[in-house]
């Protein structure tokens, strides 16, 4: 697949005795698939990650032997399911280093977590002429819920700019903060650029003006150790499916005192402590925010996924991904006419790029014929695409199972794209 010249300077993937990427790959059955007769090279991990056998087995076991509704029955199955469900909450608490499992709310994903904060905390705390500050690199899910809220409350949305490397312009951001600022909502890691935002500094600056901070952690949690207490953010949301768990399950972390004071999100079963037609009393945290039968199997699957990440070691994962990113960056920069979009100094495993004269969509189709799955489009970040003057980019995004060889396959695929369009 690769020439000697291409691979001469390729670092050895298995250089670290404590992280064997080939062994890791064996944990993910889908990676054995072929696409159009070629081995699958899955580089669309920022969209969703593949699932390890341990997660799949956990979900099968749940439906095979444990399936039951939770927090309701006195029967054994219900007790077991409830225990597994709450065990997953404990796992998440530990994973984020939150102080209390009551601060961990199960939601459908990052999007629902952000909408929950907008429609409960937001409606109770954001008033006319108040300001919400976001950044130019936000995913639509961290733009639109605030636009809706601003419209409802007569508040204003402020957007902190990014520089040409795709980094938040911290001084410009700080200029936007003032007595009207009630909330800062920002990505921990940009889904379209890979930029890691300086969240500690963002939180400090926001807290100085008594604004609350919500971080969109969807692209951070799979790649780095996240400690919500060290960051001191007020809310943190992430999606299970981007960290090797099933779709349809995600987390909203919130500081307990904020969650306690917030009105409920959806009404229904499980979120109440008593209901009469005259008055309903709401349940304690975290159940106040978990109306209806939740995604029990997904929640247990998320617990299994985080166990998997813990057993592999997030630091080891991060180190491996950084090596693959560095090598992939080098390989891509060899491609004539390729421009990387997003060259932040602090960056996670995302390679967003455009090829001169060739639309990302065509890049995606041709790479697919080579078995290489990437994302093409605006990555739900249209304002950011506008900032960089491109309608769309091609994006290769990494996970713990990606290899140096796959970066070679990507580079070779891109040379093929150029051939087709020569």
């Amino acid at each position: 697949m690769t020439t000697a010249a291409n691979t001469a300077f390729r670092p050895q993937a298995a250089a670290h005795a404590d992280f064997d990427v080939y062994k890791v790959r064996a944990d993910f059955p889908i990676l054995a698939r072929t696409i159009h007769g070629k081995p699958l090279v899955y580089l669309d991990n920022a969209a969703t990650t593949q699932k390890p056998q341990a997660v799949i087995d956990t979900m099968v076991r749940y439906y095979t032997a444990e399936n039951s509704n939770i927090h309701r029955g006195v029967h054994t199955l219900s007790e077991q399911a409830t225990q597994s469900y709450e065990q997953a909450r404990a796992t998440v608490r530990q994973f984020l280093n939150a102080g209390d499992p009551r601060e961990i709310i199960f939601v459908r994903g990052t999007t629902e977590g952000i909408n929950l904060v907008a429609q409960t905390w937001g409606r109770a705390n954001i008033g006319r002429e108040d300001e919400i500050v976001i950044s130019a690199m936000e995913h639509h899910s961290n733009i639109v819920p605030w636009q809706i809220l601003c419209e409802q409350q007569g508040a204003n949305l402020q957007v902190a700019p990014v520089n040409d490397a795709g980094e938040l312009m911290l001084d410009e951001f700080e200029k936007l903060l003032g007595p009207k600022t009630k909330l800062v909502a920002m990505a921990h890691v940009s889904n379209a650029l890979g930029t890691v935002n300086p969240v500690r500094k963002i939180v400090e600056a926001a807290h100085r003006v008594n604004a609350r901070v919500l971080l969109d952690g969807a692209q951070a949690v799979p790649h780095m150790s996240v400690d919500v207490r060290a960051i001191d953010c007020d809310f943190y949301a992430f999606s299970g499916h981007k960290v090797y768990a099933p779709t349809g399950i995600g987390i909203l972390y919130g500081k307990a005192e904020l969650l306690e004071a917030m009105p409920p999100y959806q009404g229904g079963g499980d979120m109440i402590s008593s209901v009469t037609f005259e008055k309903t009393l709401y349940n304690r945290l975290p159940h106040k925010f978990e109306a209806g039968t939740p995604h029990v199997s997904g929640t247990i699957g998320l617990g299994a996924a985080l166990d998997y990440v813990n057993s592999t070691g997030i630091e080891r994962i991060a180190r491996h991904e950084k090596q693959v990113l560095a090598y992939g960056t080098r390989r891509l920069l060899e491609i004539p006419g390729l421009r990387l979009i997003g060259t932040a100094r602090e960056k996670e495993g995302i390679l967003s790029f455009v090829l001169e004269g060739i639309h990302p969509h065509d890049v995606g189709t041709i790479l697919d014929q080579e078995g290489i799955a990437i994302r093409t489009g605006h990555h739900c970040a249209q304002p950011l695409m506008e900032r960089f003057g491109v309608p769309a980019t091609a994006r290769a995004s990494l996970a713990l199972y990606n290899t140096m060889e796959e970066m070679d396959a990507l580079a070779n695929g891109l040379l093929k794209v150029r051939e087709v369009f020569a």
């Binding site: 639309h359 990302p360 189709t365 249209q382 087709v420 369009f421």
Partner: protein
């Protein structure tokens, strides 16, 4: 396994690099935009229509090779045609790119080059984007048409 060359035929690549009728139209009396929110492809179609005939047509915008070549070749194919003929051509074109039976691609002339698109279902929207905008322009719709 579909061959890439079935999709990216020479004539398609050529039109994508050197699109024809790629300009605004001074005399335009109809105009419509086509937008694919999934990939950001965005074209504006300009028409000069008189007595039920497409007297002139042009387009501008940005998109992938398939959508741009399709827009370019569409303008060539419908220029001078009566509006109902253009509509009929769209129907045939749509059938061919979606791989429906019953339409011979040789009814389409050069547009038959897009038959390969039927092997790539996610690209059908690219091939038909300009056509949807054309139809909107002919029907006098002022808002942008969207593939979604």
């Amino acid at each position: 396994m579909p061959d890439l060359r079935d999709l990216y035929q020479d004539i398609i690549l050529e039109h994508s690099k050197r699109p024809r009728n790629y300009r605004t139209l001074e005399a335009a009396n109809r105009k419509a935009e086509g937008f694919n929110p999934l990939c950001g492809d965005h074209f504006t179609i300009y028409l000069e229509v008189g007595d039920g005939q497409i007297r002139d047509i042009s387009f501008q915008g940005s998109g992938c090779a398939i959508s741009k070549a399709s827009a370019s070749m569409m303008t060539q194919a419908v220029k001078g045609k009566r509006t109902e003929e253009a509509e009929e051509l769209f129907q045939k074109f749509h059938h061919v790119v979606t791989g429906k039976n019953g339409v011979e691609s040789n009814d389409l002339g050069k547009l038959a080059a897009f038959a390969g698109v039927s092997e790539y279902p996610v690209r059908v929207k690219c091939a038909t984007l300009a056509w949807h905008a054309l139809r909107a322009a002919l029907q006098g719709e002022q808002h942008a048409v969207s593939t979604e």
